[in-house]
């Protein structure tokens, strides 16, 4: 008997006599934010901003026509000289760069180049207000997973309409067939005295530019 058959046989034997009708899973938990927390769209954005800050990431609100300036300002603020970006980043986001070289990841840059880069700029697929999370799924403006992992600094541009209230809403919007990365703040370790300390293997700095319109 193969191990597959053996394990499945043991499972069936263990469960013999225990199966039967079961009540449905009680899903009484909240799928959306309580009305009191999020009366208006502005409340949802405010909650997102607050929660991102709790995760020790910076977030800046800008108008649609200010995205390019905000990206450039953030990169200057970090004294970035060379960054890597997904090849399909909206052109306007990099329009104001001055003195910062942006290397498109097409063809894919090698890991050493990526490690030497001062940062990376991406978009996201979904963001979650309740937890202050951005989720990347490798779709438009996001690139492959290594891009947001190896450099020390990640600048993520979020459109207001990408922000949902809760984790259930985000799970419902995402396609599990794609590789997903949920990012809630910079890399942190609990390894020393079980206390959260920012900075480990992933990006040590996460900044978010929130485009409102």
């Amino acid at each position: 008997m193969s191990s597959r058959e053996e394990v499945l046989r043991r499972v069936r034997e263990a469960l013999a006599g225990s199966r039967g009708a079961r009540p449905p899973v009680p899903r009484g938990y909240a799928r959306r934010l309580a009305a009191a927390d999020a009366e208006t769209r502005a409340d949802v954005l405010a909650l997102f901003t607050e929660r991102v800050a709790d995760n020790r990431a910076a977030v800046r609100h800008v108008g649609a026509d200010e995205a390019g300036t905000a990206v450039a300002a953030a990169l200057w603020g970090r004294e970035a000289k060379q960054i890597v970006v997904p090849a399909d980043l909206p052109f306007g986001w990099l329009a104001e760069l001055d003195g910062v070289r942006a290397l498109a990841d097409a063809p894919a840059v090698d890991l050493d180049t990526l490690a030497a880069a001062d940062g990376v700029v991406t978009g996201c697929a979904v963001a979650v207000a309740q937890t202050g999370t951005v989720v990347l799924d490798g779709g438009r403006a996001q690139g492959r997973r290594a891009l947001t992992l190896v450099p020390g600094y990640h600048l993520c541009v979020v459109h207001a309409d990408q922000i949902v209230g809760t984790v259930p809403e985000a799970v419902g919007r995402l396609d599990p067939a794609r590789p997903l990365t949920w990012i809630s703040g910079p890399s942190a370790t609990y390894g020393i005295e079980t206390t959260r300390v920012e900075g480990a293997h992933g990006p040590r700095h996460l900044e978010i530019i929130l485009i409102e319109d």
């Binding site: 193969s2 191990s3 597959r4 394990v7 499945l8 043991r10 499972v11 069936r12 034997e13 263990a14 469960l15 225990s18 079961r22 009680p26 009484g28 938990y29 909240a30 309580a34 929660r51 709790d54 995760n55 890991l111 490690a115 309740q130 937890t131 999370t133 490798g138 492959r144 997973r145 290594a146 992992l149 190896v150 984790v167 259930p168 799970v171 419902g172 599990p176 067939a177 590789p179 997903l180 990365t181 809630s184 703040g185 890399s187 942190a188 370790t189 609990y190 390894g191 020393i192 005295e193 079980t194 206390t195 959260r196 300390v197 920012e198 900075g199 480990a200 293997h201 992933g202 990006p203």
Partner: protein, 491 residues
Amino acid sequence: MTASSPGTTPSSSGRSGPVPAPRPKFAAAARPELADTRMRRNLRGATAALRGREAAAAAETADWEDLREAGRAIKDDALLDLDSHLEELERAVTEAGGTVHWAADAAEARRVVTGLVRATGAKEVVKAASATTREIGLNDALARAGVTVRETGVAEMAVQLGEDAPSHLLSPAAHRDRAEIAELFRRAVPAAGPGLADDPEALAAAARAHLRDRFLRARVAVTGANFLVAETGTLVLLESEGNARMCLTLPETLISVAGIDKVVPTWDDMEVFLQLLPRSSTGDRMTPYVSSWTGVTPGDGPRALHLVLLDNGRTRALADEVGRAALRCIRCSACLNVCPVYERTGGRPYGPVHPGPIGAVLTPLTRGVESAADASLPYASTLCGACADVCPVKIDIPDMLVHLRGKVVESRRRRPVPTPEMALMRGLAWTMGDPRRHEAAVRRGARWARLLSRGGRIRRLPGLLGKWTEARDLPAPPPESFRGWWDRTRA
């Protein structure tokens, strides 16, 4: 937070790594740990900090009880149809370009993984924290096959450098303070240099620098997984450092080892566990990183994906109608942080599989209670119930401990020679069955006990009674019995 005084020597430095066979019983294994005040202080600080964060995070969520109830029900459903979910998972992973391997026990899992690594020709693998790979003793097996294993988490690195056993599910080096970790890094990480400071930022930076190159050059990685989604064939892993992301993204070959109990039926079920797990384990609203992957994705991540599904006693636990519920465990470690026994003994006395209250039930459930060490675990508890109150999937650990104690007694009753406890109890029944015998015994006993005591404490009782004093001191009895005193003063 603990600050260590200068000049203290690492009190645990002499401890050996792998637990030798036969494993000692819990109380015996706990004795050195109980005497290690530095470890106890470290653990107390660590568990208290996490306890506070968890409580705050759960309190913030108005629907916490509803989430727990859903989590419990989803896991129960997953377990009661585990065979069909496993088959569905295998189909979905395979369709997405991955390969599924089945391992009936630890030895087979070691063989499978070692074989997969050998086939790549790699001499080194990077590894992200995984209790499951520790359970099967993978690192030693790979080392024997000539493969160097690099643990990549900051805490795991400290444990590996210290040739230590991990003590906490979430933070394996919770028994070490920053000064001890700095000392380990100074000795073993040349780049860190002798001047490495012992603040956590510097230590995290040293770990980052030490492993950077290894990640970039790694060809094979081994990880665990927190959840396996049957419907879609998706593996889900939560972490905070990014080392697991490195492992599951950069190398060409990814081998993930996971217990069959990690299965959840549908992708939508993740909406529950992505809320329960972070809040129960670190008190974060969301873990800094959550990764999920389904098979392989061209141009992004590994080209070969292997999932090793491990039984190793889980079906044995599944067959126990009461104990089965322990397989709901999502390894959040909340029960460790509230357990008064764990806080004093640390993780190591619980043996090689899982520490803390959940270890005290999972180990005997998956391995049986035949060995003395495994049979001692259901007694490593005060049955205070704190673990059941915090468990995000509502596992009634105390109830299960009592159930397992029953099993231990049951298995001993069948033995031809009565156990020392049974002989003792029979003797006690005979003595107490007669008032005169009892009185004489108490008088004699008190005299003997006073002879044994030093400064009013008895540190170790003789013979069979020694068990009682393995983990506690006993006050010496007063010179006079209560009855004697009563008779003398009232007569």
